[in-house]
């Protein structure tokens, strides 16, 4: 399957009555975006209003609480549309051409639950830890309709859909723009791949998806990942939004939709494809609460690795605590099939860095890449402007009593920062 991505570099965003991209500036009409979001019945029912803001790199701006981050893309050639099974109909994506509005993102924010988390600082020390401080962000803050307290499932769903719709609408603006740069991505059929790269090791990416419940879910072509068995997906499908995030707990190591669209493991495996390895496919597997599910899913993962005659597998994780068990089960079982693994995780080693980092361990996990210790404490200075609300900072993960100081600075653990210790290896942050 072959996909061409056409990158349209966005250097600035401005509100305007007209929607267009001109000389790297995105002009966007918030009312038009809003109208498009409200075309969805659930959004209509549960979101009272949306407010829009723009946050640019280097500004003294804090966005919180962040729900999701999404990159606007549009399919210009080939079957299907972006976010299949959710925004567009269920049709296999991942081939043809897709335009990407690179250098920007749609960020959804606003309260859902009382301990809502996720901070993006556009400048200062916190900005070093989140990849989203480097983007021009169109921030959409949602305000819930009356009575949402008793309907959190519906409200979460509405905000999730609203963000995807906003990104879809903005992506559409790039449909007829000539990309600044293009790149092609292609994986081959099994036999074809062996014939073309007879001497290269066969490698797949085992992509673990958070799948535990409300605010802990991931959807694949619209299917709740916890209800699916481990399966295979082409890496290019993920570039068209086949996997979306419904996860908004543990800000530092949740994978936003942006992470799924720009999966760094996929990018780096493609970079090595045909040179040092033969990139076969992605295997997606879940992280369920029920222990027999964990057993079954990891059995299935290792079974597929064997069936695909892999030499190596790269495993990434999402979230805190029990996914460590899935990660270690996957790693161990794949290794026992004779397939070599590298796993990517992050650590909770305590504020002093002295505690055991993972909730599970196995000697077969001898090749580990870490996204850093999420318990490490950071002081975030006061920002001139807050998009969203600071009401939740005292309650959010890693924040502790008194974490919002009178002078406006925040003392918290890295956990609170969106994407800080990403377990797909999105960042340079590490620990030893």
């Amino acid at each position: 399957m072959k996909l061409e991505l056409g990158y349209i570099q966005i250097k600035d965003i401005q509100f305007s009555k007209e929607c267009k991209v001109e000389n790297g500036t995105l002009y966007v009409d918030p009312d038009a975006v809003k109208a498009f979001m409200y075309e969805d019945d659930d959004v209509k029912a549960w979101v009272k209003d949306f407010s829009f803001d723009i946050a640019k790199p280097g500004e003294s701006v804090r966005i919180t609480p962040v729900k999701d981050v999404i990159e606007p893309r549009v399919k210009v050639e080939g079957p299907g549309g972006v976010f299949p099974g959710v925004i567009n109909k269920v049709e296999t994506v991942g081939s043809g051409k897709t335009h990407v509005l690179r250098g920007m993102a749609v960020v959804t924010a606003g309260k859902i639950v009382g301990f809502q988390e996720g901070i993006i600082d556009m400048s200062g020390p916190g900005a070093d830890y989140t990849p989203f401080s480097k983007l021009n962000n169109l921030v959409v803050v949602a305000e819930p309709a009356e009575g949402y307290q008793d309907h959190k499932h519906e409200y979460e769903h509405a905000v999730r859909i609203a963000g995807l719709r906003a990104a879809t609408y903005i992506g559409e603006i790039g449909r007829n723009v000539t990309p600044d740069e293009t790149a092609e991505f292609e994986t081959l059929g099994i036999k074809e791949g062996i014939e073309k790269y007879p001497n290269l090791p066969r490698v797949a990416y085992v992509h673990m998806l958070q799948s535990q419940g409300l605010l802990h879910d991931t959807y694949v072509y619209g299917v709740d990942a916890k209800r699916s068995l481990t399966t295979i997906i082409n890496p290019t499908e993920t570039m068209d939004g086949a996997i979306i995030s419904g996860n908004c707990v543990s800000a530092c190591d949740k994978n936003t939709t942006y992470h799924h669209q720009n999966n760094p493991v996929v990018a780096n495996l493609f970079a090595a494809h045909g040179k040092t390895l033969n990139y076969v496919c992605n295997i997606i597997t879940n992280e369920n609460v029920y222990l027999a599910d964990k057993q079954r899913s990891s059995d299935w993962t290792s079974k597929l690795c064997r069936l695909l005659d892999l030499d190596g597998a790269l495993v990434s994780q999402e979230g805190f605590g029990n996914p460590d068990t899935d990660l270690i089960m996957n790693c161990k079982k794949i290794e026992l099939q004779g397939v070599k693994t590298v796993i990517i995780t992050d650590e909770y080693a305590g504020q002093d860095g002295k505690s055991q980092s993972l909730a599970d361990a196995d000697p077969l996990a001898d090749a580990v890449v870490t996204g850093g210790n999420a318990n490490e404490v950071i002081i975030l200075p006061k920002m001139d402007k807050v998009i969203g609300t600071l009401d939740y900072v005292d309650v959010i993960a890693g924040g502790h009593a008194g974490s919002l100081r009178p002078d406006g600075t925040i003392e918290a653990e890295l956990q609170v920062i969106t994407g800080a210790t990403n377990e797909m290896g999105f960042n340079r942050l590490s620990a030893r």
Partner: protein, 347 residues
Amino acid sequence: MSYKVVHYINQFFANIGGEEMAHVAPELREGCVGPGMALNTAWKGEAEIAATIVCGDSYFAEHEADAKKQVLDWVKEQKPDMFIAGPAFNAGRYGYACATIANAVQEELGIPVLTGMYEENPGADLKNKVLIVATANSAAGMRKAAPAMAALALKLMKGEKIGASAEEGYMPNGIRRNFFEKEVGAKRAVDMLVAKLNDKPFTTEYPMPSFDRVAPNKAIKDLSKATIALCTSGGIVPKGNPDHIESSSASHYGEYDITGVDDLTAETYETAHGGYDPVYANADSDRVLPVDVLREMEKEGKIGKLHNLFYTTVGNGTSVANAKGFAAEYAQKLLKAGVHAVIMTST
């Protein structure tokens, strides 16, 4: 004003001689000697070696207590900002001396310390207690080792936050610290996988916690001469739980004298444990802590002696770190008391 440093080196680096001079007793010299020069150079006046202690490696090994005391006395007098030992490279006894003396200075005088040696040097066993810069395996590595040690030492003297082991060059010491790598994680992971696939060396960023096994100690030869101690995680305490050991998440352990006690009875002992049905243990605590039969065996001469103290904790909900700490502490007491073997009972 520059920071004041005391430096510890062995007879070889002080140019006294090799193995044939390893017996020399500690000596205090003013200023820097041998490798200290390289440190001074790297500090460019910000810090300076005020005194150098030279000690023969065999002397340290054979008279550890005396050597330690002498060195500590001198260091105390000097009131330095920092104590540096070595680097010892692959010299085993020198490495052991460096790590041991640095640890003593740090613990007893509260002065920041640093040493350096090759990873496989036996002295590196102390890397979780003392900061040890990893060096090459021979003195040829001095050119790299000295600046690395000097830079890290200066940070310690200034009270600056030190970075991760990979950045600063010290051996991983069980404390995880964040830092920014040159490449993103996914790139590092792909590179690591390619290395692993090609059987090339690679270094994991998170070594799995060692499935820490302690090798079994030698069996005791003659039971009739052995002092046996009883320990339990079943929470057996004198009736009334005088030390108020919590029924779960205990914050301390109990140490009780059983001199003259031949049998634990419902009137005299009970369990403080909250995690199992206490009825049976309360009715007869020998069911958890077999004092009665061990006394019999002591009288019969089957065992030499039942140790007069027993140690008790509650397993229930006590954090692993605490439990470990308790046992490590009372194990030292047992050792000092000359106990030969322990029977540990658990519920």
